[in-house]
Subunit: 166 residues, 2 copies
């Protein structure tokens, strides 16, 4: 399997998980939180899945396609390890779906970041909210969920917030 | 269709075209030419398709994944509008498959570059060689070929070199 193959497989897994997560939270009010904007492709997908919800976006420095830049009032600009702390007043317990995919290209670095931010994300989730994440996350209150059909375990990850007010 | 959807579709089209092109040149001796290395994903795919051929790579400045950096002797470093000129002695009429995908993110810029480099690529191709290109290219000696099944016309492009010594 080439890097092109595995990249395509990863994007397909990401999309399938986001689509399933959107279905899972369809009856749960709340905002959406995109952790990392990048070029804005996933943000654009979230916009289409959630045309009527606020989508907050954490990003250090916006470098997305001009069509995919979030409105300023929904941008949490800076290192997400800081901005997620300060977002707690704004978003605590209000997020129905969060998506974390640092995609640093460095597996160890992505995992380390995920471990740092998981405790900051979880208090923002509504009970019953869903976290979609590329690095696997082990954190109290998050319960792993079945992946979309056809996806091998661990390729992407879905968690349900079962007890999030830590 | 979101930008994520269209990106996945584009990568799938790219891979399908490269796979078909590899099949089409299986009985044609010659080198492979990758025009633009980027992160090296497509180069890695070409390596797997052509384990026994030399794969020359044009790149301005190597910034690929460390596993996907070509051997120095096969790297044509610099602006491809220059390096393709000087590569003519080395590669003229010897390339069985070339792949051009500037992927600048700017459609007009990619098309302009393709128009500039097409006259430099074509003399490098063997008669019967195949050019796989994301911007469509109109140039004498290049004959458009049918795409892999399922791909809409124009999503990616395949050309056979029918008279390449311009």
């Amino acid at each position: 399997m080439s890097r092109l193959d595995s990249f395509i497989r990863r994007l397909e897994a990401q999309r399938a998980c986001l689509d399933l997560a959107a279905h899972l939270v369809r009856e749960l009010d709340g905002d959406v939180l995109e952790l990392g904007l990048g070029n804005g492709r996933t943000y654009d997908h979230l916009r289409q899945l959630f045309p009527d919800r606020k989508i907050y976006v954490c990003e250090r420095r916006v470098a997305a396609h001009p069509d995919c830049v979030p409105p300023a009032e929904l941008l949490l600009l800076g290192d997400m390890r800081d901005t997620l702390q300060t977002a707690r007043d704004l978003l605590g317990g209000r997020v129905a779906l969060a998506h974390l995919d640092p995609a640093t290209g460095d597996v160890a670095a992505s995992r380390a970041l995920a471990a740092q931010v998981a405790p900051l994300i979880v208090p923002l989730l509504r009970p019953g909210g869903v976290l979609v994440s590329e690095p696997a996350i082990a954190w109290r209150g998050l319960s792993p969920m079945a992946l979309p059909e056809g996806l091998t375990s661990g390729r992407y990850n879905l968690y349900r917030c079962v007890s999030c007010r830590s």
